[in-house]
Point group: C2
Chain length 365, copies 2
């Protein structure tokens, strides 16, 4: 298939290797592997996980749960403080599959009183330091109050405690990730210890991509839910979760203009394709993507002095050396390695796999 416009190309070989490595790690440590599907949002990519024994998945919205129920998944955690306004949609999917929802406050849990028609599993969201959502790991009176509310709803089945150590994404080294990961596990282990007599089946669910990628220590958790590892990206590579070669998606973009007076190449490919997430480059400036060009049909990864440095709605600007400037021409295709593959995949809405098939994602919302 000829590429004529911004196209997200998915390297199936790399993607399968990422899935295999993570599922083997989960097996090695006796963990439930419940991968987060919000990164790829695709029934077809989801099916690739089945060969590795995956039966339980994580999603981030009721709509996404609905999409994967249609794709034949039967055990789904919606890992997001439940939006109680969507109780009708929850009833719809909970009639078809085993659904777990998440609460970090008793108000939401109370709002579902008399609203549910089917049993749903409930996890209590805990924060061990990320502090976006979640009850603090040691705020026992809040936890107990929520447990009481849960126990009063006959359609709620308490499953355990869930957390996301999202602060690993701010780490600048594997060591830093390991520290956060270890600290999180210790706190969750103590929580399990406190509540295991009353709830002998309770599950501790953890697992951000950085922690799951760099660590071989998982004592204190029962289940991991990494998502981004399926594709990885430059943010993960900067943290140390992966190498450049582990990144499974690249946005292929036509060159539409060259500005010789400032050695800039302009591509058709902008914020609506890549998203505007960036990392800080070695020169202290925002980097929106790294660049692969072809020279005599050989791929060449440009170094970090030559990078995607500006994005507008549909334009991307690549700063290059005079040599690179002269090596490419208007009408050539360059490949952009994305900073945040979850947002790029969501923005693009479909993939071209390296097996040359176009595969689809869920509809927007």
């Amino acid at each position: 298939m000829e590429i004529t416009q911004p196209t997200l190309v998915l390297n199936k070989t790399v993607c399968l290797r990422n899935i295999e490595l993570m599922s083997e790690k989960a097996k090695r440590h006796g963990l439930i592997f419940r991968p987060h599907f919000k990164t790829h949002q695709s029934i077809e990519v989801g099916n690739w996980f089945r060969n590795f024994g995956v039966e339980k998945i994580t999603v981030s919205s009721v709509q996404m749960a609905h999409y994967f129920v249609k794709g034949g998944w039967n055990d789904i955690t919606i890992a997001f403080p439940f939006n109680t306004l969507q109780h009708a949609q929850l009833n719809e999917i909970a009639a078809l599959a085993n659904i777990n929802i998440v609460f970090d406050n008793h108000v939401g849990a109370e709002q579902l009183k008399n609203k549910l028609k089917n049993e749903v599993g409930v996890f209590i969201k805990i924060t061990t330091g990320f502090k976006r959502v979640g009850i603090a790991h040691n705020a026992f009176s809040e936890i107990d109050r929520l447990l009481d509310t849960i126990s009063l709803n006959p359609n709620f089945k308490f499953k355990g405690f869930i957390t996301h150590a999202g602060h690993t994404y701010q780490s600048k080294s594997k060591n830093e990730v390991q520290n956060i990961h270890f600290d999180q596990l210790k706190k969750m282990e103590a929580l399990k210890e406190r509540y295991r007599n009353k709830y002998p089946d309770l599950v501790i669910s953890t697992g951000d991509t950085p922690g799951c990628s760099v660590s071989e220590y998982f004592k204190g958790t029962d289940e991991i839910r990494p998502g981004n590892f399926v594709f990885y990206d430059l943010m993960q590579q900067q943290i140390g979760s992966c190498n450049i070669d582990d990144i499974a998606v690249r946005l292929h973009c036509p060159i539409i203009s060259k500005q010789s007076y400032q050695n800039e190449i302009v591509i058709y490919g902008g914020a609506i394709h890549l998203s505007k997430d960036w990392i800080t480059n070695i020169d202290g400036k925002p980097l929106y993507g790294r660049v692969v060009i072809r020279k005599n049909n050989e791929p060449i990864l440009l170094n970090t002095n030559e990078y995607l440095c500006r994005l507008s709605q549909e334009h991307g600007v690549i700063k290059v050396s005079p040599n690179t400037f002269n090596a490419v021409e208007v009408g050539d295709i360059v490949e952009i390695i994305p900073v945040h593959s979850c947002l790029t995949a969501h923005a693009m809405g479909r993939y071209l796999t390296t097996k040359e098939a176009t595969i689809s994602m869920m509809e927007r919302f």
Copy 2:
């Protein structure tokens, strides 16, 4: 219609007023009004322009031109250095409507040799200082070379010079915008003067939203192409192009969590809904949106000390005062005024109008 998940609400009254004011300004100055439709990307919103006499439009991609041709528009400029790999799609739409394309280099123009089946208008892209794409306004040998290439293709009809003073978006005051606007017009006027004998019908096309919004001086241009003004946003309000009340879109989001220990409210509404564009707030930190809450069903615009301060894929975090914290509850809807409405509209893919109809946008790509 009850809102239960992130929903982009379009205030039709405000939007129509924005269209009316800009179309009247164009009439007052005897200008062709060719609004950019990449902001709303909707046939239905596009139709609202027809009552104000608009017959010519601007788009940013061949796909968008195709969508609006299907919507009955017959005079369309694709204001983006033409991506020559899409020549087949260009032939398809140029058979159905009058299409203008843009070049800023002779290489692209040469690549269409023997590729076109129908006449297309051609504008030469000029930069007067923005320096993203375009030939410098005084690089006459480059301009002449491109004019020669254009003249050799019997399906090219040279139309004129087009520019986008995108550097007005970096302005911090109306004065700064006026200066850039005036400078641009002077440069384009000189260009017209130089080439008008050879091309007596040549059109000068300008018109970013800041310049068109703040200025009443348009000598030197024949056509304006603002786009964002249809909705406006916080970026435009910060520049001085509009007031808060002129912003026609708001993202309505449910509250899903409250973090009392840091006075933060968490909404279902993140990067995939709003995009990650931000402006610098008065406290020097990134602001991703301003917030309207309801108190006794009355809308209250929070001040800039209480704002959308962090975004992840689907979460948004609003920093508030203790008073505001206590005035809202999980399950309430808050309204977010977006930083960059073009990207928010694109991300959301449809609108709920205040007349309670859901209206559609073009498909993703």
